[in-house]
Amino acid sequence: MAKHINLTLHVWRQKNAKCDGKFVEYPAADISPDMSFLEMLDVVNEGLIRKGEEPITFDHDCREGICGQCGMVINGRPHGPKERTTSCQLHMRSFKDGDTITLEPWRAEAFPVLKDLMVDRGAFDRIIAAGGFISAPTGSPQDANALPIPKENADLAMDAAACIGCAACVAACPNASAMLFVSAKISQLALLPQGQPERYIRVRDMVAQMDAEEFGTCTNHSECEAACPKGIKMENIARMNRDFIKASLTYRPPTGGGGAG
């Protein structure tokens, strides 16, 4: 069995969205390197509960890297030091005995801190509600290959659809921009035939909602791509920009009456 390690945590504690928060130091003693990062926090919280203190609040759900809930900034990097890894899939073997770990919530005007490390990512839900869907009735499953889709497009759409909406891109961006997320949600539909009817109205609506949520704007630092646990590429942002330019150039206001019946 691997040797257990002792760590010091500096954790952002904030009672609710209205209160100011501050960093509080906690020891994390006798931690197995085989634990996940969230299991380590569970152990620290057990200790806090036994002492009658308030446990550290953090979002988590599936703990297998696919739900996108466990967002926290670990030592200045969203989801910690490992590439393509969510906090729940990060293991304590990534740290050394005696390390100090700073834990902060996602920092963005659009994501108010609800408590400690937990933020309200409702802004992402509203961006999706603004256009991240198709309105066509899809009916029952079609025969395979009834709709011709180039393999390359299917692969690229699938890569974009890998986005779990964890918001590490926003957290990592020096401008708190949500463009990697929004562009992935636009691309997964823009690359497939089912997404075409609303393709250009969708990009305008989702960008408008992204702006209304007061996210920052991309200055091409590439930090989002490096932080993304699912490897979403900045090529998606370029696709979004391209579609937005085309949509702006060709937009026409809806005409009254015609075609309704």
Partner: protein, 231 residues
């Protein structure tokens, strides 16, 4: 928390238009950036005639002032002034939005993929703006020049670079131009959506090559004057 955060913006926000949107302002930034990078490249190429001597250089200056019966230079100046104005407007407006987007910062944010050039764009841009004003007063209108002769641009050029402080500022500004171009040239291809995996390494190499060429040649002028190669 703004009211907008609680609702779907929908059609009325869409109507706010291109210049109000984040992507629209980025496109303005990129498009005006292309104009300005195009200008510094042509400016650098034109000035290489300093190496051909006074006659060639002054002839080039005369050509610039007389092309299209003298209207050409004013068309160029109008386009450059508009591009610079829009570039600065987009930069200020996007920077303010970006700062408002993260009111509380991190205690220890670790840069992973961003470059020093990308993180200092607003500072290199600010120094460049100050340099452009100085450069115009120095070599176009002459107020900042010790012995300016409107009829002899070549002599102005040579005597300008015999002042060490002027050369120092000039070289610092050129290094800022290098940082600004290196990130900017790559960046406008991304913003305008000109990406494809097949050409991605080409984009980076294009930015690096153009930057080294422009900055290298520009810095060679004061060095050539100081070493007496141009006299």
């Amino acid at each position: 928390m703004s009211v907008a955060e609680q609702s779907i913006a929908g059609a009325e926000a869409r109507g706010h238009g291109f210049m109000a949107s984040s992507v629209g302002r980025k496109v303005v930034m990129a498009a005006t950036g292309i104009v300005l990078f195009g200008f510094v490249t042509v400016h650098m190429i034109g000035n290489t005639q300093a190496y051909l001597g006074a006659e060639s250089f002054n002839g080039y200056a005369k050509f610039l002032h007389t092309m299209l019966h003298g209207a050409g230079i004013w068309i160029f100046r109008a386009v450059l002034l508009a591009a610079t104005g829009l570039h600065i407007w987009a930069a200020v407006s996007l920077t303010l939005a970006n700062q408002a987007a993260r009111p509380v910062g991190y205690r220890a944010q670790q840069p992973v993929a961003s470059t020093w050039a990308s993180r200092t764009m607003r500072w290199s841009g600010f120094i460049l703006a100050a340099f452009i004003v100085y450069h115009l007063l120095h070599l176009t209108t002459g107020q900042a020049h010790p012995n300016f002769d409107p009829a002899n641009p070549y002599a102005n050029f040579v005597s300008a670079f015999k002042v060490p402080a002027a050369v120092g500022f000039y070289i610092v500004a050129q290094l800022c131009l290098g940082l600004h171009m290196w990130h900017g040239v790559w960046s406008f291809t991304q913003t305008l959506g000109l990406t494809h995996p097949r050409y991605d390494s080409l984009r980076r190499n294009f930015a690096t090559g153009l930057t080294l060429l422009v900055v290298g040649v520009n810095i060679s002028y004061p060095i050539a004057v100081l070493t007496g190669f141009i006299h």
